[in-house]
């Protein structure tokens, strides 16, 4: 199973995350022709899927609700690490107000991260993924523009991730919690976008201009987009399955 996303971290994959779910969908269309065999294959994998780390060194987010929680935990680890850096050494061209705001955002993301850690450890002991190692080489933390651009990427991706993963949650309380977090991420996204260009909080690049809907991304597409910022290879193949 893990071979499916071996290419997840390379530049080409990062550049076109939107293609990923289509590829997966067509894979399952073909698989559907032999549905019985596929079901056996998936259930045969389930023992491995539940492990935090596969023998290949890949971090498997897992299946079912726990997979979704680990998926969210991975993203919140990334965001929390990013804003912790911003808070610790803010770009010199940030205003005092902006510095203060990013201290607030850093607190929110640290809380989200710790929330998922506590929730997974309580409700699925032994299933939590490891601490991830962020890779922020492409971000110039000394420059406001670079920090804001990265922040926009993380916040919009976070919104799209929760929008796309909510349907995989089976436990109502976790779905509500995901809703409680995603709207805060959307508020962050709007704030950061307005700092970059006032009025771009919900522009046509991010909101469908016909339906007025925000975007939703499948977990594998989200991880493909985030993989470039994380050292460990993540496998989201079974999230919510």
């Amino acid at each position: 199973m893990s071979k499916i996303i071996n290419s997840g971290g390379d530049e080409a994959e990062f550049a076109k995350p939107l293609y990923v779910p289509i590829k997966r969908r067509s894979f399952f269309m073909y698989a559907g022709a032999t549905a019985g065999a596929t079901a056996l294959l998936l259930s045969g994998c389930s023992d491995d899927d539940d492990n935090g780390v596969t023998p290949a060194g890949m971090v498997n987010l897992g299946a079912g609700d726990v997979g979704v929680l680990n998926f969210a935990y991975a993203l919140e680890q990334l965001e929390a690490a990013f804003y912790a850096r911003v808070k610790a050494s803010p770009a010199s061209d940030f205003s005092a107000t902006e510095k203060d705001y990013f201290v607030q955002v850093a607190a929110h993301e640290a809380i989200h991260r710790d929330f998922f850690k506590a929730a997974i450890n309580r409700d699925a002991p032994g299933k939590i993924i490891q601490d991830l190692t962020p890779v922020f080489d492409t971000i110039d933390f000394t420059k406001r523009a670079s920090v804001l651009s990265a922040a926009r990427t993380f916040e919009d991706l976070g919104v799209q991730a929760y929008n796309g993963a909510g349907k995989y949650l089976k436990t109502p309380a976790y779905l509500v919690i995901a809703g409680q977090i995603v709207s805060v991420e959307a508020r962050h996204a709007a704030y950061v976008r307005d700092l970059i260009s006032n009025g771009s909080f919900a522009d046509d690049s991010i909101i469908d201009p016909i339906t007025g809907l925000d975007k939703a991304l499948e977990p594998t597409a989200v991880i493909a987009a985030a993989q470039g910022f994380i050292k460990e290879k993540l496998d989201a193949t079974n999230v919510g399955k």
């Binding site: 607030q104 709207s183 959307a186 508020r187 704030y191 909080f201 919900a202 339906t211």
Partner: protein, 290 residues
Amino acid sequence: MNILKLLADLAAVDPDSYERISGRRGVLASLGQTGRRAVAAAVPLAFGAVLQKAYGRQSATVLDTFTLALTLEYLESEFYKQALASSMTFPGNTRSVIQLIAKHEQEHVSFLQATLTASGAVIPAKPKFDFTGSKNGTAPALYPAVFQDFGTFLKVAQLLEDTGVRAYKGQVDVLITENDLLEAALRIHAVEARHAAHIRGMRRALKANVRYWISAKDEVITTPNVTDAVYAGENIDKQLLPDLVTFFPTPTTQILTGTKEQVAISLGEAFDEPMTAAAASSIASLFIYA
């Protein structure tokens, strides 16, 4: 359909909603997979089919949710439409921003109407709105200058947007087995949150003491026993999980350095809270007179 009666009905059934949802879940369990194959272009039609099945099986909960959502979108859409049609002065780039928000709200109205139509449900007529809150001059106005004073307009806008965010959040568990409906609701919900944040930013530009996210540090703009439901219970600093035992943060959770007060404020900000259909209905009713 009489919208005021509908809102009253929603408020009346709310205490039983958990039971209704639970019962519904068993009935609809087999429908859970059908929606996932829907293609984007056919979305309202595919949604409608699911909605119709839910309705046809004498469980109107999903339909209730979409009707409440449409009512709130009518409310927001009409609010911005009337503001843009008024003689109020929009400073700087704010007119184009409000036009964008108004466009999104109208798109949400159309999307929800299409979903209801595809389900065979009767689309509730748009109620009559009075955003001064005077019920068309039959009661004292809550916001007499809503379309004359830009600051008042933004205050009401913030109340409506934050209500929308909370109301959609309060309905997600009703939609938990209807994947496509849930995803659509979440996608609208996020747009409302972006709107709310920007409106809050516009108020900041007018020197209001308010953050982009709902905070205990925000200046109070609600009226006791009238609009205070908008933020009631918003700034709690603990979260409950399935067994309803307060568990986060635990006494040993290492979250943040900072004073106890700062940590409590951050905890309140980090999670937006859901609102019941009853609360959302009562807030909407303040601006509906027929």
